[in-house]
């Protein structure tokens, strides 16, 4: 296996050498030449990191001379780009969602309380959603949202010390695909890692599935997927294949899709 050479005790080693490999909590990663990085913990999605500053993403925290790993997973890195000094993060197979500002999620409305809806997003606390946070909503023109409805929205407030808050409009007040998700269709849960994989640009899984037949798909960063195809049977097939993708290699997946296509 790949990690035999590295001491299990996580004796500090250079972050560069560990990219793409499994890192374990407690491991220290050295960052040569990034000594100017401040001790502040920055989120991957933190708006506008200063030029040249390294961002410490999920699963990592600053400490010692570099980064400390807090989650088990694969170390990822995105090189310096426009205005950013590069990003390190840990890709892990987590199932429980923790709200992050800017994430698009699928929530279930659990209660109406005055001017806000309470939405279950799978985190430790229910998110709040104002009835004004829908496209075209005004004090008079309330959106038609019922308890039990599915909501596709985005977090505008998400930090550990505050109740998370969702909206269904973008910064220019447009729905941009967000809002109440229509009737029927099928909602199910997968691991957060799979969602991230599916959301990656030109994801092979989606392309493979696209060969089967047309269907609607909503992916929430909180591990929830909503699918709707022409018939219930088709919906279930898509859902089942997606669920199974969790543990399949690309080869196996192609086989399964081919099998379904045959019929």
């Amino acid at each position: 296996m790949l990690a035999r050479a590295v001491m299990a005790d996580g004796g500090a080693c250079e972050a560069q050498k560990r990219i793409g490999r499994v890192v374990m909590p407690g491991e220290a990663l050295l960052l040569p030449g990034h000594a100017e990085a401040d001790g502040e913990r920055l989120r991957l999605a933190a708006n506008g990191p200063q030029k040249g500053r390294l961002v410490c993403g999920p699963g990592l925290r600053r400490g010692g001379e570099g980064l400390l790993v807090t989650k088990c997973g694969l170390l990822r890195y995105r090189g310096p780009g426009s205005g950013s000094g590069g990003v390190y993060w840990v890709d892990s197979q987590q199932r429980r969602y923790v709200p992050v500002k800017g994430d698009h999620v699928i929530g279930i409305v659990t209660a109406k309380a005055g001017d806000i809806f309470k939405v279950d997003v799978g985190g430790s606390e229910q998110a709040s959603l104002s009835y004004l946070a829908f496209e075209g909503a005004t004090k008079r023109n309330r959106p038609n949202v019922q308890v039990g409805d599915l909501i596709y929205g985005q977090f505008i407030i998400a930090n550990k010390d505050m109740e998370p808050e969702m909206v269904c409009i973008d910064s220019s007040g447009r729905a941009n695909g967000m809002g109440v998700i229509g009737q029927d269709g099928f909602l199910f849960k997968v691991s957060l890692g799979l969602i991230r994989k599916l959301l990656a640009p030109d994801c092979e899984i989606i392309q493979d599935l696209g060969q089967l037949y047309p269907f609607e798909l909503v992916l929430g960063m909180n591990g929830r997927i909503w699918v709707k195809a022409k018939t219930i049977q088709q919906t279930l097939i898509v859902a089942n294949v997606l669920e199974a993708c969790e543990h399949m290699t690309a080869e196996q997946r192609k086989q399964v899709v081919a099998k379904v296509l045959e019929n």
Partner: protein, 237 residues
Amino acid sequence: MRKRYGEARGWIGAMETEQKKCDSGDLPSLRRIVCEQGLLSRPDGSASWMQGDTSVLAGVYGPSEVKVSKEIYDKATLEVMLRPKVGLPGVYERSREQMIKKTCEAVVLGTLHPRSSITIVLQVITDAGSLLASCLNAACMGLMDAGLPMGSLFCGVTCALDADGNFTLDPTAKQEKEAQTVLTFAIDSIEKKVLMSSMKGTCSVEQLQQCVAASQRAADTIFQFYRDSACRKYSKW
């Protein structure tokens, strides 16, 4: 067609368990370790841990909603439930729960998830010696699988001393019964310090230090196993 598809899933399912299982082979001085992560679908993280014939199943939930009465404003509320193989948990289980809980609290970065709850449920499947150590290991693997932020890892090591002062690592139930002293430690992965210690029987100070040193060495093997197991889990990802 639906039926056919069902078949396909069954085949995928079988393959999955086979691939996910990680096997330590025969490690020097420790019994054979087998661990499988993420085998339960309901909890946020799960692990089954076997060392020798001792087997413990861990399910981890969190960070999830917390009861108002147990809410802590600046950190997560951690709870451990230890279920014996048969019967209801008693005072013994409660005291071990407390030990495991405080060990986990020392490594889990609870301040990152204030006002939430983290629950670890440990179900004893078989007890064939070194149970507390197995529980600790299962809990750590479960926490890792749940992806909860941790400052370091920990592992449990049991050490048995016989009347002549010879020690056995990872003793079986029989060895434990015959031993004069049975010591269990939780060792952290960064500096190999002692996080938890529990003792049955009496021993001298020198013997204690000997056992600490031996456990620290054994911890390396277990941490390497943790890593191999994680590598295997992520290899096909």
